[in-house]
Symmetry: C2
Subunit: 413 residues, 2 copies
């Protein structure tokens, strides 16, 4: 279908979605799960086409694994839909209620954002996931997935649209842009007349391209060059445990620690122990000159400090005090998640206050920056911008608000 | 000064501003008021240069009046600064506080947005006003005023910078881009590395240009094609009073009513009376064919329904029922402010729920959409977009938030 027609149809469904009751939305989410489960073999068949194409392109085994769907993963997708049905509906929540001296009664209430565009890369489970979250928050969603997963995405979207239709809901509540070339993506980013918000999910390159080219307001998600600062008073065992977790528990995700900032007086007592544990996990440590006097490791270049490795590599920067640490972090971080390991309460407070990141931790792993870990029950991404939402975005972050004002004839003096 | 240097200096002041105490900020606001009062004659002298240039350009008397500063207006500017000093500081406010089963303690707290760019047109009082609001919320501001007011803006900014310096605050907390050509404005909108948010204030053309050209996230403010729906059960006297207020109390502002939507059964009983009152105020009524069977007025074209007149003109559209009214409004409105006049509670609720605008009124004038009227004590503009803030934006809307997370060694399983 022509892109503009698809976007216009999505906008036409907006106000119908806006009015759907929580019960109706949950019914549709459960039916979508049921239909996907029933269509598992068709979806896996479609996914096989994507895997064959992947082989032809010589895709790496790791990426192929992300792309692959099997019965277990289909079950996971269905469970995800059921879980979203169980979450509280944010739409209609009264955020504030107040009365003015002239008798006007004001209520600030949550409303859907409208039409949300999601631009994402290879994993096909995002298709169902992004639909579930945006739909539960009363939004219409237009999906623009990567070419690698196009057959899988199409199969999943078709099933969801069928489920919506059978619930008596406008199936344009979800649509997939089937053409996957760059020109279509660029044209999609100009559809300001129809699309209210764009959320890119994927690599730093994808996100940068959307931010630079979109005329539609964007929620920037993703890139995490996360730091952990080992303060003078850090407990060596705690520092080791937290850093091993933050660096090695999962490599390719945005809340993984990529850089250590070390108080010079903690270098021998704490960092040596941390370094030994990192080496046991095969982490390549790249440190500045001063740290290399104590540590047996590679040298860091300026570029290292600004790099989100997503790999078994970590950079180390030595500082004289907490002020230097904070300045270094605010300079190089992507404002995602940073932590301090310290026993000093004043320094903990200073770090929490002055580090300019969405999530700032004292004595805990940066890996907790996640909608599920925060108890939101869902996550569409981690915002690294200042506007609208910051940090993990759940259902509430997929809403806006309006003011409802009730009067009895008031006019302005 | 070179634009990029100015932006870099602004960013360099960001974290210092972030840390300023409420007391220090209030001290600076009061000193700025004091200094502006003391420098009144210099500022008025600078303003005279702008007025001479305006004469040379043949500026209209109305625009010249907006540009002009005198002792009374300078007093107004100073009072504005003092009032902002009296407002609560939003920075540090704890929005939420919760604990996770693993013992992590989370707090969601308000923080400044960072560096805010304000692009505005002629009125020089915006210079002090925009500084006061952004500064009180802990932000650095870069001002890009219009060429018409450049001498006035420069004089006011210089005085404020002196006041900041004398308070021991980095004077780059406020800076003015002195070059006023379009190329500079375009270049400013690319300064994503330094500027966190852009807020355009002014004409629809200015705002559209910023939205289309900016790589920096924008808060879209302004345009208001506001509707009032006269429902079947509307009280004729109330409708007349509200519509006269909403259309004629002030013409050139965004919350002024530009279009009436009239239930066919209210045409003779209510609209005739409203039309007579509008004519007394010399309002040009432009109505659809059906309304013209009852009203003696001009014919509306399709274009009229989409026009924000900001003038003594109003369009009239006849509808058969509330659903048609809501559909018409959602199609043509700029999602700013809309009102229903009705005695029917179910229709009032339907209108509040289904009209997709920042502020939706029952039996009150749209002119109340204003930060002061809402009790925010300030206003930087009215947001007409869905992201971040919607409707009147006060100090709170000039902030973002961060999560502060305290642990005692937690790692992710």
């Amino acid at each position: 279908m022509e892109l503009e027609v698809l976007c216009r149809n999505a906008k036409a469904a907006k106000y119908e979605l806006n009015r759907l009751s929580t019960e109706k939305k949950n019914e549709a989410l459960k039916k979508a799960a049921e239909y996907i489960k029933a269509a598992a073999s068709d979806i896996i068949e479609a996914n096989k086409k994507d895997l064959i194409n992947a082989d032809e392109k010589g895709m790496s085994p790791a990426l192929k694994d992300r792309l692959k769907l099997d019965d277990k993963r289909i079950d996971g997708i269905c469970e995800g839909l059921m879980q979203v049905a169980d979450l509280n509906d944010p739409v209609g929540e009264v955020l504030e209620k107040f009365e003015r001296p002239n008798g006007l009664k004001l209520e600030k209430v949550r409303v859907p954002l409208g039409v949300i565009g999601i631009i994402y890369e290879s994993r096909p489970n995002v298709t169902a996931d992004a639909f579930a979250l945006t739909f539960k928050a009363g939004n219409v969603v237009i999906l623009k997935g990567g070419s690698d997963a196009i057959n899988s995405n199409k199969a999943i979207t078709d099933v969801i649209r069928r489920a919506l239709k059978d619930c008596g809901i406008n199936e344009d509540a979800v649509s997939l842009i089937e053409s996957t070339d760059r020109e279509t993506t660029k044209a999609f980013m100009q559809m300001k007349e129809y699309v209210d918000v764009l959320i890119p999910r994927g690599s730093a390159g994808l996100i940068r391209s959307v931010v630079e080219n979109s005329k539609i307001p964007v929620i920037e998600t993703g890139a995490g060059n996360c730091h952990i600062f080992i303060d003078e008073t850090a407990d060596a065992d705690m520092a080791t445990e937290i850093i091993i977790n933050a660096k090695t528990q999962r490599l390719g995700v945005c809340n993984t620690c990529e850089s250590l900032v070390v108080h010079e007086k903690a270098m021998d007592r704490v960092m040596k122990k941390v370094a030994a544990a990192l080496k046991e996990k095969n982490v390549d440590i790249r440190a500045d000159e001063e740290a290399r006097l104590s540590l047996d490791c590679n040298a860091a270049t300026e570029e290292d400090f600004g790099t989100e490795y997503l790999d078994l590599i970590i950079s180390v920067k030595t500082v004289k005090n907490i002020d230097e640490a904070i300045a270094h972090i605010n300079k190089y971080s992507t404002h995602h998640s940073e932590a301090i390991i310290t026993e000093d309460k004043a320094n903990a407070e200073k770090f929490l206050k002055e580090v300019d990141s969405a999530c700032v931790y004292v004595n805990a792993s940066t890996r907790f920056t996640d909608g599920f870990e925060f108890g939101f029950g869902a996550e569409i991404g981690i915002s690294t911008q200042m506007l609208h939402a910051r940090g993990p975005m759940g259902l509430r972050e997929l809403t806006s608000y309006k003011y409802r004002i009730q009067g009895n004839g008031q006019v302005r003096k």
